[in-house]
């Protein structure tokens, strides 16, 4: 009963709660300066929350730990940028192609790796992202190699997905996040979510009750990859610059996406939003505060946070908050009961 109530409170927020979050998320672009640093951090927070949500689809619900989601992200970033550079194609269309390329890649990567379990799966996905990173570094004439690729400047234009200030990007990121959360919510409450949660505990047991585990994982991975690829395009358009070591990077994206999902709570629709809201500003702050000799400090905080979280609250902050609230309520109820007696 208690588990059910936790699931309900985290997976199905009340309409009031939903409205409150919506208002809260609409606030930053209205109060923060359009060209300011803070709105930029807020926009990045939304983007990373969406990435965490995309990772959550497979990593959170099914506990299939991908350490290679940067593969989809990088493919997305390069696809739309190369299409814009060579064909002058609008990044909006590029984003759709990017999502399709990432979705296709999810099958190419998924079919061999989904036979693997646990640590092996993590290693396999890691290797795929590395292979792509090396290929994109090597084929310089096409990808720009290690020097990276600048997104051609088209002026302030909606059609070309380029804007002067942060505000339009913020609203795009917000819309993408809303879509990501809607998809994760639908998956979570739909049949796919049940299949993924069933195979999380045991592939064999899930197969016995009739779940096609490979199919379920491929479906979740496809959705996850499509979203991640689209975010790759967003990132390229927002940063105006991409390079293989960053967009295909293990620490820059693969691990960060996972960390955001874990921080909020694995398999929790709202988790990535909480995770990103903590991690991204922290990241920005440490990067700004510690430079030169202390340049390692931001990674240090990152790593320590990961260790502390795993040891202290492996189920994430939302779960912890839920439990704490529950305990508080129980204590209060007990106190009231005693008063009556």
């Amino acid at each position: 009963m208690r588990i059910a109530s936790i699931a309900q409170s985290t997976q199905r927020p009340s309409l009031r709660g939903l409205l409150a979050v919506a208002v809260l998320l609409l606030l930053p672009p209205l109060v923060l300066e359009n060209n300011g640093y803070l709105l930029r951090v807020a926009t990045l927070t939304l983007m990373y929350a969406g990435l965490g949500g995309a990772w959550n689809l497979l990593g959170g619900f099914a506990h299939q730990i991908s350490l290679g989601h940067a593969a989809f992200f990088g493919l997305g970033a390069y696809t739309s940028t190369i299409l814009l550079r060579d064909l002058g194609l609008s990044p909006w269309i590029g984003m759709i192609v990017a999502a399709a390329v990432a979705g296709l890649a999810s099958f190419i990567i998924g079919i061999p790796t989904f036979r693997l379990r646990g640590h092996y799966y993590a290693l396999g996905t890691l290797a795929f992202a590395e292979v792509l990173r090396i290929l994109f570094l090597y084929f310089r004439s096409f990808t720009g190699g290690a020097i990276g690729l600048s997104v051609p400047y088209m002026g302030d234009s909606f059609w070309y997905f380029q804007f002067y200030g942060n505000r339009p990007y913020y609203f795009i990121a917000l819309a993408m996040l809303a879509l990501t959360m809607y998809i994760t919510h639908r998956v979570s409450t739909g049949p796919l979510g049940y299949r993924l949660r069933a195979l999380r505990n045991s592939h064999e047991a899930a197969e016995v009750v009739g779940v096609d585990t490979t199919r379920a994982k491929l479906q979740a991975n496809f959705l996850s990859a499509v979203l991640t690829g689209a975010y790759g395009t967003f990132y390229a358009q927002y940063h105006f610059f991409i390079d293989p070591d960053t967009v295909f990077g293990l620490m820059t994206f693969s691990v960060k996406m996972a960390l955001i999902a874990i921080l909020g709570g694995l398999g929790n629709v709202w988790g990535p939003l909480v995770g990103a809201a903590i991690l991204v500003p922290l990241d920005e702050w440490t990067n700004a505060a510690f430079t030169g000799g202390l340049a390692g400090a931001s990674r240090f905080i990152y790593g320590s946070l990961l260790i502390v979280l795993i040891l202290w609250q492996p189920r994430g902050l939302l779960y912890w908050a839920d439990r704490s609230l529950e305990r508080l309520r129980e204590r209060r109820a007990a106190a009231v009961g005693e008063g009556v007696r």
């Binding site: 990593g59 506990h63 730990i65 350490l67 061999p112 790796t113 036979r115 693997l116 646990g118 640590h119 092996y120 993590a122 290693l123 396999g124 890691l126 290797a127 795929f128 590395e130 292979v131 090396i134 290929l135 570094l137 090597y138 620490m251 691990v255 996972a258 960390l259 874990i262 694995l266 000799g293 202390l294 340049a295 390692g296 400090a297 931001s298 990674r299 240090f300 990152y302 790593g303 320590s304 946070l305 990961l306 260790i307 795993i310 040891l311 492996p314």
Partner: protein
């Protein structure tokens, strides 16, 4: 032809080192069922330890590797007791991300202390080479290989001939049965993790005469390590030794035919192919 032969011999020399840095990974997995994603960073710690020995005590890195072993062993044992033990029976998510976090912490800590610069030591034999027939073999590579061979032999003697080694093999084979005959698995975990990380550290010391040390040097070795252990079968000690030599040769020979940037690509493709078609490894059953 000579070029290829030379590449093969050099591959064996480097592969011996790959074998030693990877054998720790496989040892830990065989006994604890945990993949230590920070293994390559213990190699980096070993390199820094040997670098400090060379800088302040004037010790040759090959000699100081003997000092490095107990130091990294103790550190590894502490890490096992303080951190890794706590996720021993936790879900795989926790196991993976604990060691990923550890890797980040170790790298950034060393970066804060030593900076991101590339450092190296100078040895009298650094640029020397031995001629064997038509082949020129670089002395630092030969020495690193010989040191690795000694370590492999020592490990083999330890696992085969000592009681502790036998207990470890028993734990790897069947944890429950080992517990039933009175082996304390948690003790085996500490020893395995200590030895596993110390071997990587020691290997880090012996490669210092020909390799640069910097906080993120582990990246260069991490995927090679994973390839080696998967090729040999995760948990299979003999497999890791064979896999190390194999990867060394493949790595080295592919540099003859392909641009250097694609050298690692060949290794990763072999890694993916092994995972896809023979995830239990080429060498066969678990023999740890």
């Amino acid at each position: 032809m000579v070029e290829v032969l030379e590449a093969i011999v050099n591959g064996v020399l480097v592969g011996g080192v790959y074998a030693i840095i990877s054998v720790g990974l496989t040892l830990v997995y065989g006994i604890m069922d945990i993949v230590n994603f920070a293994q390559a960073d213990f190699l980096m710690l070993g390199m820094f330890a040997a670098y400090l020995c060379a800088q302040f005590l004037g010790l040759d890195p090959i000699l100081s590797s003997i000092l490095v072993f107990p130091v990294i062993f103790l550190f590894g044992a502490l890490v096992q007791r303080g951190l890794v033990q706590r996720v021993q029976s936790a879900p795989i998510v926790s196991q993976i991300f604990l060691t990923v976090g550890l890797s980040l912490v170790l790298q950034s800590l060393m970066q804060m202390i030593f900076g991101a610069n590339f450092r190296s030591v100078t040895t009298p034999y650094q640029t020397q080479a031995i001629s064997v027939g038509p082949l020129n073999l670089s002395v630092p590579y030969v020495l690193a290989f010989l040191a690795s061979a000694v370590m492999a032999l020592a490990l083999w003697l330890f696992l085969e001939r000592t009681d502790l080694g036998r207990c470890m093999r028993a734990t790897a084979q069947n944890r429950v049965a080992a517990t039933l005959v009175g082996i304390d698995p948690s003790k085996m975990y500490v020893v395995a993790f200590g030895i596993g990380t110390a071997l990587a550290g020691m290997a880090g010391a012996v490669i210092l005469p020909y390799a640069y040390v910097f906080p993120t040097v582990g990246h260069q070795y991490a995927l090679i390590m994973f390839t080696v252990v998967v090729l040999g079968g995760l948990g299979n000690v003999l497999g890791a030794l064979v896999g190390g030599l194999l990867v060394g040769v493949i790595h080295s020979v592919s540099a003859v035919f392909l641009p250097t940037q694609l050298q690692n690509l060949v290794v990763f493709i072999i890694f993916i192919l092994t995972l896809t078609f023979k995830p239990t490894g080429l060498v066969g059953r678990r023999a740890a």
